[in-house]
């Protein structure tokens, strides 16, 4: 790890966004991860996305579990709220936090071990409840922090650094999220920021559970020949379904595409995502077709990336529960304790 703090000096042309911050203001402490770890690139992409969206750092809560990936919230958005849960319990703590204060932007950051192994139970329920959040799994196919054991997302037949072959079937978190009703599902690659940054921006603007599987090579334990999560392997097998320009109303649409190549997705608050189709037959609006497409492609050894599914009329947990407009944490004693007369009335109704 690096001993010195990242110098405060920045490029003279660095500008402030509408919230009055430079991109550097969205950084956190200097990373202690291994040099070259894909997770650091994802942190950089989150920083870029938040800066571009003029996010106010104090309106963000970062939650994570345990693992190298779960350490990363320390390395971005240093001025935001943060919570490190015990291993695998981030989705539950995030759900609770979201119930208490629905007005913050919830960023769940996890690893394939944290979410697909020990935390799989928490993960599935947070997704199926439609908690309004951005859930990012930094997927490297190993338990990086504990020195490289295969995780549940490691592909069958892939080889460990020491040459051992994985004999277990992999768990596909994108497939799982689609099946569980996530209203925004995407896959990215830490080595492709032009694709990843717009995906994160679109996910932040999405209302409901937005799930992002980001393949993020572990340079220390899973970046060798025989690995299916290495920089080289992912670059060779990456099949982008579409290319995404995130447009949040202010940006002009500058690139011209031929008719039929573009899909505009309008999300709940009017923001538009513009997609350029790369796979002609692919539609991000059809959950079942998306699942089929992913299975077909993965059978051919391809890693499909891009915005895979988005539900334009999405809902979230608070909508389902029909909660009051004011966040719970701001309700006072008066609202929470309506008095003995009201209690009598309720009790009477139940007798």
């Amino acid at each position: 790890m690096t001993w010195i703090a990242k110098p405060k000096l920045h490029h003279p042309t660095l500008t402030c966004n509408a919230a009055g911050f430079t991109r550097r203001d969205y950084e956190g402490a200097v990373s202690t991860l291994c040099a070259g770890c894909g997770h650091d690139s994802i942190s950089a992409a989150i920083i870029q996305a938040c800066w571009e969206l003029d996010i106010e750092p104090h309106r963000v809560a970062k939650l994570s579990g345990i693992g190298c990936s779960s350490k990363t919230p320390t390395y971005f958005l240093g001025q935001s709220h943060g919570f490190n849960t015990v291993h695998g319990r981030m989705p539950s703590v995030l759900t609770g936090a979201n119930l208490a204060n629905k007005e913050l932007l919830y960023l769940g950051v996890s690893g394939d071990g944290d979410s697909a192994s020990i935390g799989i139970g928490q993960f599935v329920h947070a997704i199926r409840r439609g908690v309004n959040m951005v859930y990012i799994v930094e997927n490297n196919g190993v338990y990086g922090l504990t020195k490289g054991q295969f995780s549940a997302t490691a592909d069958l037949g892939s080889k460990s650094k020491k040459g051992v072959t994985n004999t277990d079937s992999p768990l596909d978190m994108v497939g799982l999220a689609l099946q569980l009703g996530a209203s925004f599902v995407a896959r990215g690659f830490s080595g492709d920021k032009p694709q990843l940054v717009p995906l994160i921006k679109a996910a932040i603007k999405h209302k409901g559970s937005a799930f992002l599987d980001v393949i993020s090579p572990c340079v220390a334990f899973n970046n060798h020949p025989g690995s299916t999560k290495s920089y080289d392997y992912v670059r060779e097998h990456n099949e982008a379904a579409n290319k995404l320009d995130f447009i949040d109303g202010r940006d002009e649409i500058t690139v011209d595409y031929a008719e039929g190549e573009l899909i505009d997705v309008t999300q709940h608050d009017g923001n538009v995502i513009r997609l350029r189709k790369l796979a002609a037959s692919y539609s991000p609006h059809d959950r079942v077709a998306a699942m089929n497409y992913l299975h077909e492609r993965s059978a051919k050894g391809e890693v499909v990336t891009g915005l895979l599914y988005v539900d334009e009329d999405s809902h979230d947990l608070h909508g389902h529960l029909n909660t009051v407009p004011t966040p719970f944490n701001r309700l006072g004693a008066k609202e929470l304790s309506p008095g003995s007369a009201t209690l009598e009335k309720i009790n009477a109704a139940l007798r």
Binding site: M1, T2, W3, I4, A5, K6, P7, K8, L9, H10, H11, P12, T13, L14, R24, S31, C34, A35, G36, C37, G38, D40, S41, S43, A44, S190, G191, K193, P217, V219, N223, Y231, D232, R235
Partner: protein
């Protein structure tokens, strides 16, 4: 763009902005690190080799390195006023703190065996002294002819003592004369023809630009007793022919000479001293710090006033009138001074010092002895690279070559002329200049450990402390600046970015993981598709708008892209190398030393093609 060939010495040399800008190419960051480490003797010797007068220059240098210094650029838009590293005043620190005995021991010794060649130097200013220093240890018999009794030239007779103590001049001129140089003080050369007749193997003319320009306006002759040419007056002050001046003094001119005149006046009885310039304050030739120093001593600078007449009564100067003007720019952007139409302004005074320009004069060089002079300016025709005149054995340098400049340029000319003379007398082609000596060595000491301090200081530039004004104005010999103390010297040295510790990229091991891009605080690094330079400069991580700074471009990488690094505002913090998993980035110290006269400059260097 084509991949950058980092084997060409100029590539990394240009990255070391200060060293590139220094006429003598002093290895600045190397000496700054040595000062930070308290190794003052080593720092002094690095300077002495390159610029010959570290103690003098550490107080007086025009410091072309500082406007070039990268620190000034990286601090832009980062809070406080951007300022370069105090390169010049750090140099003084090693001169002040060195161990005099140890330095003496490290000086070259007079040549044991003479080579039989005789060289004449005319004048003992910094240019001639540099020629003597470079050639004497090689066995040449160097004779320096100087009109004054002591060596040093204008450093001694013009630069006032409150800026440069005489002991420093004695010491550093002494190091040179002790190399077995024959010094003929009090000997003015009256005829070049006669000098050439003495059959020297080469003659170096370092006679300076000795003539101060006069101002022929009404009243000049009548009031002559109280009107002085600045250059002559300063020399008279040095020789103590002049010990005082009137209470009210007007100094005409906006250059450094004017600043020395007005500050000297303040110390010789001038209480109401003002500087008056024709054009704007901003356009004045004097360095900003010299203007500041003058104003600090209570000397106002009045601008846009064109001298019209010296006013006198009964043959005695009473004041001066000036026409008020303002600047106007014509279609071509040229500036003209146009009268404002307001009434002329009158200023009372007892004395006037004219410091409006300095000129060359070569009355002692006959025009019919094969040394060609330029018809328009009456200046010798001198080759900029070799310093040779149209007489192959006669060389010029310093202010005598191309008009008044400064000490460090005189030194650089001296080195160049010495190389030419040494090559000429060894049968070489003097147009073939020697390559500099370069090395490029990794500074890696451990996983994330470097042999240099890569933690970047956020401090603003430190000011050199001054002696109390009440005390310094009392005597012309009291030095104003005290020099950095140990603590501020260290803190100022820490502001240096170590621009000589280069970021070196090895394309073959790069896995394009983006780690360096993500960590770089200055957004220097990009992985992008290749293109023409003008186009590439616009689509990098941050726009590369400073066209004087190179782009470092790699060969094509696995993904078909190239790595492009904009050298402009790199902090040389080494974080790119620390965060690189494969060692594709390394921090390597680039050390460049100019090749001076001696065996090294005789070698024919053939660099393999890139």
């Amino acid at each position: 763009m084509k991949p950058t060939d980092i084997r060409v010495p100029d590539y990394f040399h240009k990255v070391v902005d200060c060293q590139w800008a220094c006429p003598a190419h002093t290895p600045v960051p190397e000496y700054i690190r040595l000062i930070a480490a308290g190794r003052h003797d080593d720092a002094y010797m690095i300077n002495w080799k390159s610029n010959v007068f570290p103690g003098i220059l550490g107080r007086t240098c025009d410091r072309p390195c500082e406007p070039a210094c990268r620190r000034g650029r990286v601090e832009e838009n980062n809070g406080a006023k951007p300022e370069p590293v105090a390169i010049c005043r750090l140099k003084r620190v090693c001169a002040d703190n060195k161990d005099a005995e140890a330095i003496r021991a490290r000086m070259p010794k007079p040549a044991v065996k003479k080579n039989g060649r005789r060289i004449a130097c005319v004048g003992a200013g910094p240019a001639s002294l540099t020629v003597a220093r470079d050639l004497a240890p090689l066995g040449y018999h160097v004779t320096v002819f100087e009109a004054d009794a002591k060596g040093g030239g204008f450093m001694r007779t013009q630069v006032p003592r409150f800026r440069l103590p005489e002991a420093v001049i004695d010491e550093e001129v002494g190091y040179i004369l002790d190399l077995g140089v024959e010094f003929r003080g009090g000997t003015r050369i009256a005829s070049m023809r006669a000098l050439l007749a003495q059959k020297f193997d080469a003659v170096f003319v370092g006679s300076g630009a000795p003539r101060g320009r006069d101002l022929e306006i009404p009243g000049r002759r009548e009031a002559a007793a109280n009107i002085h040419i600045g250059l002559d007056w300063l020399a008279s002050v040095y020789f103590e022919h002049v010990k005082k001046i009137g209470r009210r003094v007007i100094v005409l001119g906006g250059g450094n000479t004017a600043m020395d005149c007005c500050r000297s006046s303040r110390r010789l009885g001038g209480e109401d001293v003002k500087v008056i310039v024709r054009s704007g304050f901003e356009e004045m030739k004097a360095s900003p710090w010299e203007k500041e120093d003058a104003m600090h001593e209570g000397i106002p600078i009045l601008n846009y006033l064109v001298p019209k007449a010296f006013v006198h009564e009964h043959g005695k100067l009473t004041g001066m009138t000036f026409e008020k003007v303002h600047a106007e720019h014509d279609a071509k952007g040229r500036r003209r001074l146009v009268p404002t139409g307001e009434p002329d302004q009158f200023f009372e005074c007892d004395d006037v010092l004219i410091a409006i320009g300095q000129e060359n004069a070569f009355p002692w060089i006959e025009r019919d002895i094969g040394i060609e002079f330029d018809a328009e300016w009456d200046m010798p025709v001198v080759d900029k690279m070799t310093m040779q005149s149209s007489n192959p054995k006669v060389f010029f340098g310093g202010d005598a070559a191309f008009g008044p400049k400064n000490i460090i340029w005189a030194v650089a000319h001296g080195h160049d002329a010495a190389v030419s003379i040494d090559k000429l007398l060894n049968g070489g082609d003097i147009r073939e200049r020697p390559e500099p000596g370069v090395s490029l060595i990794s500074q890696k000491m451990g996983i994330h450990e470097w042999s240099y301090d890569n933690d970047i200081s956020n401090d603003a530039r430190y000011a050199v402390p001054w002696r109390d004004k009440a005390q310094t104005l009392k005597s012309i010999k009291t030095e104003v600046e005290l020099g950095f103390d140990a603590k501020s010297a260290l803190a100022e040295a820490e502001r240096c970015l170590n621009c000589d510790v280069q970021t070196v990229f090895t394309k073959d091991v790069c896995i394009e993981c983006d780690a360096c891009v993500d960590i770089c605080p200055m957004d220097c690094i990009s992985f992008t598709s290749n293109g023409e330079e003008a186009d590439l400069r616009t689509h990098l991580s941050a726009p590369a708008l400073n066209l004087t700074q190179a782009l470092y471009v790699s060969d094509t990488l696995k993904t078909g892209r190239v790595m492009v690094k904009d050298e402009d505002v790199c902090l040389h913090c080494g974080l790119c190398a620390e965060r690189c998993p494969t060692g594709a980035w390394d921090m390597r110290k680039f050390f460049l030393e100019m090749t001076h006269a001696g065996p090294g400059c005789h070698k024919q260097v053939k660099r393999e093609a890139a």
